[in-house]
Symmetry: C2
């Protein structure tokens, strides 16, 4: 076994999920994440945790959904009981084909998802963490060889998380105290957003930081009252379609005009989902410099150092003070769009520059 697989498992179990003796853990195993599952099982055994492994396979899901007719049962008792009694849920992504469910009608997928809202909630009340094993399918999605892709994934996962958390804490505190964030860049972006009364999340790849992805490495909050224009120059895939150079224009918090060099219809579809889809749910600042290229996988792309992402749609409750979670933007979608801020760009907080051309105020090379 590649020694990095063990190290990945150790990071997941120890740093990310903070597994303790006696924890009842569900490990969801993608079909090509087998090796990581073996390493995770050994780590969990060493810690005296208890394990149920589930098989998270897109071909099985597709076959079930295509076979099924009529309404889905709400929160099946056995599945709900499994997660309600779990202390932690570790999802080891490792699919074989990122487009396996492309021919399942989206209404059916959505209906199945809606019927499992309680199961999902139960899962999110545990110490849950999602990670990805570097599979051939993900390498292909990234346009990379398997070997290069494995190097990429482990560079992203093996960070000095403690040190990154300390850096991110500075950004979080700045955002927590702020009223307004402004994003400016040479490509025509000039956007202002209110972040008043919001709580930024220092997402340091650990449940101890309210962060549930490995890798992570971002600080995010929930903006409102968005005004101005923004261009997203990082290409992505949205609902199976390639999207490039999306331009959004906001007035009074809402998208009032938009365009894209490619995949404009995908943006149209997103914006037409519901009223909340025309508002922003997230402003995220990518701070993981182990991620140095776009791989067409949102788990990695949005964490890339020297990028900013904005999501159309649903906001996270974690960005609101307790008791005010109902102020979060509601939508059936949460679609991230990413822009490179490493050159000819700056982020201002209440009029002060906190980042210029990718360098934060506390870093070398900053001359804001």
């Amino acid at each position: 076994m590649d020694e990095r697989v063990r190290e990945h498992a150790r990071t997941l179990v120890e740093w990310s999920a903070r597994i303790e003796e006696g924890d009842d853990v569900v490990v969801r195993v993608g079909p090509d994440a087998h090796e990581l599952a073996v390493a995770v099982a050994e780590e969990l055994g060493e810690r005296g945790a208890n394990v149920v492994t589930t098989y998270a396979d897109a071909e099985v899901t597709r076959a079930y959904l295509l076979g099924h007719d009529g309404d889905f049962a709400e929160d099946p008792a056995h599945e709900l009981a499994l997660y309600e009694n779990a202390d932690a849920v570790l999802s080891l992504g490792g699919g074989r084909n990122t487009t396996e469910t492309a021919d399942v009608p989206s209404e059916k997928r959505q209906a199945h998802s809606r019927a499992h809202a309680g199961v999902r909630e139960a899962r999110m009340e545990t110490k849950w963490v999602s990670t990805e094993h570097p599979t051939r399918s993900l390498a292909q999605q990234a346009g990379m060889s398997g070997e290069a892709y494995r190097d990429f994934v482990y560079d992203a996962v093996f960070r000095d998380w403690e040190a990154l958390a300390t850096k991110q804490e500075k950004v979080k505190e700045r955002l927590d105290d702020a009223n307004e964030v402004r994003l400016i860049s040479g490509d025509g972006t000039d956007l202002t957003m209110s972040v008043e009364g919001r709580v930024a999340v220092n997402s340091a790849a650990s449940v101890a930081y309210d962060s549930h992805n490995l890798p992570s490495g971002e600080v995010f909050t929930a903006p409102s009252a968005t005004e101005g224009e923004v261009v997203f120059d990082v290409p992505m895939t949205i609902h199976g379609r390639r999207v490039r150079d999306v331009r959004l224009e906001f007035a009074d918090g809402e998208v009032v005009d938009y365009a894209a060099a490619q995949g404009e219809d995908a943006i149209t579809e997103v914006l037409e989902t519901d009223a909340g889809a025309r508002r922003l749910g997230e402003l995220g600042i990518g701070m993981n410099r182990g991620i140095d290229r776009v791989t067409d996988n949102i788990l990695f792309d949005e964490k890339m150092g020297d990028t900013v992402h904005l999501a159309l749609g649903r906001a996270y409750a974690s960005n609101f003070p307790e008791g005010r979670e109902d102020e979060a933007n509601e939508s059936a979608v949460h679609v991230d769009l990413i822009t490179d801020v490493s050159e000819d760009s700056r982020i201002e907080v209440d009029g002060e520059v906190i980042q210029e051309d990718g360098a934060f105020w506390f870093e070398d090379g900053f001359d804001g």
Copy 2:
């Protein structure tokens, strides 16, 4: 997909487990049983059942057990809750190496198994069925090519189960009414067993027949007061060791002498487990003529037409009238030994021949 995989899935879901709309089903997927899992998921979807798939992998189990130190938690809450809330459990065997846990100390395996007694009981209170997908590993265990092994498995699984159940019912009734069964063959076997007050099971590969294996095809009961000698000429693997031509001598229900042409130490180990291991827990008559060769897999071997098997150790509660289950022989082991009865052999019930050279009294070629 091989059309036979679909047919296997249909037989499992429809005939064996009798899945109904709304059933909460757990599907345990061996790592190489993926294709069967996809076909089963489609069948379950079509029937409107609800599915949780678990990953039943020996490498994961081995890593967990080797990593673990000290006592195992008793019946972890999440695992117990999953099975307590399930209506059916379908186990799709499909390992990659039948000897994967060979280097896990057996005390550790047993301790883990003992700690999961409640989970196992919960599982056995559902409509549970175990089957095997024809994997490369099982083909190798059988000494066969993959293609020939697939033909073998599907010949065993695709029977006219209704018709076989009718035939088996005759044998069951005969055994239920009987006091004594005698087994005689030219190799020196002459064994008598009491079956008075016992209930034979017509094992027709369906929960409707209290039968939990697909394939099945046997009638079995729980003997006592065994006297005489028996030779088992079907070779097998017991606890990882090859065993051939085992001879057991019984007096007053207990083994008093034994020998084997090969693997005698494995028999010694079995007999020394506990007091119950020296008594018989099962007398089974194999009636699945789709199984026409030994493949070193007990799920198939013991069902082979024209064979008889006897198990040292634990008896099944299903062979006892309600309220008298405590009469069942108790032991930590249940080890089947098999003998060919197709030639120079007969089975007598209360002095009457019911089978001679493999032909039952109700079949052509019988001249008992």
